[in-house]
């Protein structure tokens, strides 16, 4: 994103749709402004010259942090389901999908 490109209200609507959020007209406008402010703040990074810097995804140079294939105990069913808004038998229950 360059300095001139701005997030539009349609972008906000799209983001809300993907996150399954329902926004009111006022919220759409408010969040568009706020999101633009955040993006603008990060734009500061563009001031740096990164021409000779390799892109990286992690802050440090650690690689290959693996785990052995050994079984450890899982949670109790009760504990696993404790935070579920709705459950049925030993299942989590979700609203109709598709």
């Amino acid at each position: 994103m360059t300095k001139d490109s701005k997030l539009t209200i349609e972008d906000t609507q799209e983001i809300a749709k993907l996150a399954r959020l329902q926004l009111s007209k006022e919220e759409e406008e408010k969040f568009t402004t706020q999101l633009n402010n955040i993006l603008q703040y990060f734009e500061k990074l563009s001031e740096l010259d990164t021409k000779n810097v390799e892109p990286r995804t992690h802050p440090n140079d650690i690689v290959n942090s693996f785990r052995e294939d050994v079984v450890e105990e899982s949670l109790d069913k009760e504990e696993a389901l404790k935070n579920a808004p709705e459950k049925k038998d030993s299942y989590f229950k979700a609203p109709k999908i598709v």
Binding site: L18, A19, R20, P55, T57, H58, N60, I62, V63, N64, S65, F66, R67, E68, D69, V70, V71, E72, S74, L75, D76, K77, A80, L81, N83, K88, D89, S90, Y91, F92, K93, A94, P95, K96, I97, V98
Partner: protein
């Protein structure tokens, strides 16, 4: 096979195959037991695979071994440095709202690129090119209460499967017919089972999605092809749907469709790829695969299907076709070879195994290991035939019992079955049958083929126990005066 009418419509099929690394003991990113089948829902979960805040994934090292093995089997190029990505989507099968996977764009790479699987059909060899394969976690299992995915009102979720290691293999869109797709999948199955990274006897261990298009037009992705056997049917149906649409002057659309066992129906218009908002998974450090790791696995590679097919021909004198069919399922090939260690009548073992025993197993949808079938039972059975103690008729009657672990000797004793070689007894019986059927004897004068009727009556009267050669001889002797 293309018909004349449709020759201007060339189908292009690409397959995406998800294989569960269910030979691993634990899941891909956590230490939960991976042998979840048949267990109570949500009892094999932990904060990581439930996506609880603050939990951190760690990679199962053996999953990387499996992927390296597969790369050797396909002759794919392993990427030496890679990291995982988050694929974001909002769906209850993954509680994190993202899947941890690998991505070959945005600076990412798959686990390995390229590779081929060669298949043989209609006397030609075709190399099916692979695009790539990558590691990712399996989502949880959704149970659609009171109906299927389209008609049910609520969705129940079991996260026992959530986090199981998957390898997704993506072919290039180079498959030209449903039949070719089936032959390819058979070969792929054989390879992954010979690599011993996937136990294919487990339900859902290998799942197929298909991208189908008519050359020059938009493609549809068909999901939920639950059984391997249905791939060919689903593809045929979808190709027909697209061709019919084009013939009417309409265009096909990019969409995701659901195979319900009979037809494909629209599931959703395809989410554009950037809706997944892929970005690097910062909770996992990059993976670097050094050459010595790759070489180390190469040294330990098991025998692969093509090598085995060649060896079976050489060692047991099998025809290429038979060797290929046996090798399609590693379990069957292993079983065959175990039998051959006990009994040298390789041809008979092959015939009974492939024609009769596999027929029964397929019909009942069973794998060898889920039955009581043992090599020593096959040996006992073949020996009984070879020594003349058992007729083919009796053998055919018995064969379904072999998968229940019942030996032929025991079965015959219990049934009171014994091959009747008593000449006097058979003579008596033949006389009786001939005198009971004067009209058939009359027929025999005109139609010598009627002879077979008497053989049938003899076998019926002895419940298949009469020695067939002796029976024929006796009947010929008695009836030859009528047969001119």
């Amino acid at each position: 096979m293309k018909s004349k009418v449709d020759s201007k419509f060339t189908p292009m099929i690409g397959l995406e195959i998800h294989c569960q690394l269910n030979t691993l003991k634990t899941k891909l990113f956590c230490s939960c037991n991976a042998q979840f089948r048949g267990e109570e829902p949500n009892t094999y979960t932990c904060p990581v695979c439930l996506g609880l805040p603050g939990s951190l994934p760690t990679v199962n090292e053996n999953a990387i071994d499996c992927a390296i093995k597969l790369a050797h089997a396909f002759d794919s190029k392993i990427n030496k440095r890679m990291y995982f990505f988050r694929k974001n989507y909002f769906y209850p099968d993954l509680p994190q709202n993202f899947q941890i996977t690998q991505y070959n764009k945005a600076g990412g790479v798959a686990f390995a690129d390229g590779g081929t699987i060669s298949i043989k059909f209609d006397n030609k060899i075709k190399n099916i090119e692979l695009d790539r394969f990558h590691l990712e976690n399996d989502p949880g299992k959704l149970v659609h209460e009171g109906g299927d995915i389209e008609s049910s009102n609520e969705t129940l979720v079991d996260y026992n499967r959530s986090g199981i290691a998957l390898i997704e293999i993506v072919t290039k869109p180079v498959i030209e017919s449903p039949r070719e797709a089936r032959i390819f999948l058979k070969k792929l199955r054989s390879i992954i089972s010979h690599c011993e990274i996937v136990d294919l006897t487990k339900d859902g261990a290998m799942r197929v999605d298909a991208n189908i298009s008519i050359k020059g037009h938009a493609r549809a992705e068909v999901k939920n092809i639950n059984s391997f056997k249905e791939v060919e049917r689903a593809l045929k149906w979808e190709i027909k749907r697209q061709i019919n649409k084009l013939k009417k002057g309409q265009e096909t659309e990019q969409e995701t469709r659901n195979w319900n066992g009979k037809i494909t129906t629209l599931l959703r218009s395809k989410e554009s790829e950037n809706e997944y908002r892929y970005f690097p998974e910062a909770d996992l450090v990059p993976i670097e695969i050094k050459q010595d790791w790759i070489d180390d696995i190469k040294e330990k590679m098991p025998e692969l299907p093509d090598e085995r097919i060649a060896r079976l021909q050489e060692e047991y004198g099998l025809k290429e076709y038979d060797a290929t069919v046996i090798t399609e399922d590693k379990e069957v090939a292993d079983f065959y070879e175990e039998c051959c260690k006990l009994n040298e009548n390789y041809e008979a073992i092959k015939n009974w195994l492939m024609n009769d025993i596999m027929g029964i197993l397929n019909e009942e949808n069973l794998s060898i290991s889920s039955t009581e079938l043992k090599p020593k039972l096959v040996d006992e059975f073949i020996s009984a035939i070879d020594s003349g103690k058992v007729t083919t008729k009796i053998a055919k009657k018995y064969i379904s019992k072999i998968i229940k672990g019942i030996g032929i000797k025991k079965w015959m004793k219990k049934q009171g079955v014994k091959k009747i070689t008593d000449k006097e007894k058979l003579n008596e019986l033949a006389d009786k049958i001939i005198s009971d059927n004067p009209d058939v004897v009359e027929d025999l004068k005109k139609k010598p083929k009627t002879f077979q009727y008497f053989v049938g009556q003899m076998m019926k009267a002895t419940r298949g126990q009469a020695d067939i050669q002796l029976t024929r001889k006796i009947l010929k002797e008695k009836l030859k005066k009528y047969m001119k």
